[in-house]
């Protein structure tokens, strides 16, 4: 299969958002995606850029994407986080995930970071096997915690008494 891995352009964002939707369906949260194409264009391509995105293009279709941004570790200093690595379902197993992850690791190395992190659903065995085969450590004793929009509102109301 022919494909190119390249930096995303603003005009790729509608296809990138379709991939985000596809993953949200897989993760059983199809209604949680609130971001729009306009948000992605503004947030990714106006200064200060809030993320960097790489895409896998096959002919003229975007069939995969990786989206990364900086984080800060109080142990390791500046690090990067891979928010999403998505390959459209019919293209899985073609080496695209490896090609995009290669790009992300090269990017992290070029920045000199000491860690690249991401998150995975503990029932997503194909993803876990793939990541472990690449030398990543799935830290099963660390859980993600979130206070969502409604939680933030409620928290502030409780604070005021």
């Amino acid at each position: 299969m022919e494909y190119t891995i390249r930096e995303a352009l603003p005009e790729d964002m509608s296809q990138v958002l379709e991939l985000v939707h596809e993953l949200a369906v897989f993760e059983k949260e199809p209604n949680e995606v609130e971001v729009t194409v306009g948000d992605l264009v503004k947030d990714g391509f106006s200064e200060p850029k809030k993320f960097r995105c790489f895409v896998a293009e096959s002919w003229t279709a975007i069939v995969g994407m990786a989206l990364v941004y900086p984080r800060y570790s109080t142990w390791k200093g500046p690090v990067i986080h891979l928010e999403d690595l998505i390959i459209t379902e019919k293209m899985r197993g073609s080496g695209l995930g490896t090609a995009l992850l290669n790009k992300v690791v090269q990017y992290g190395h070029s920045l000199g970071v000491k860690r690249i992190s991401w998150e995975v659903l503990d029932w997503n065995e194909p993803a876990i096997n793939f990541y472990e085969s690449k030398g990543a450590k799935v830290m099963r004793d660390w859980d993600v915690v979130q206070l969502n929009e409604r939680g933030i509102e409620k928290f502030l109301k409780n604070m005021k008494g």
Copy 2:
């Protein structure tokens, strides 16, 4: 107990780093802290600032800290991440954790973010109970994945074949 919650200053970073070390010992990883006071001063107080830090001060000692920075959700847009919320052991149970978390949630709200995230060790029951009492959701099916410095080097070596 008398205390103040305030924005951290560069001169607080040596005491902030002591708190980071204290937490690393509790998390059974005392040798993983590579960051120096100089790194924290540079990364937190020169533009572009890589994080924002709030401290709890009792008399002239820093007894707690919260360190946050922006992330980007492909579902929710700009969000913030609480990297560390640390209260020195002898001051726990004095309301300092709540006071610092209040500050963080107010900060997130002032930015208009739709999510505040952090991570917790699944055996740290006091922390989990505290976070859940505040309305946060501990997502036990989401695990943290990391490719560390040695993993990055090995990954790149394998890429070259």
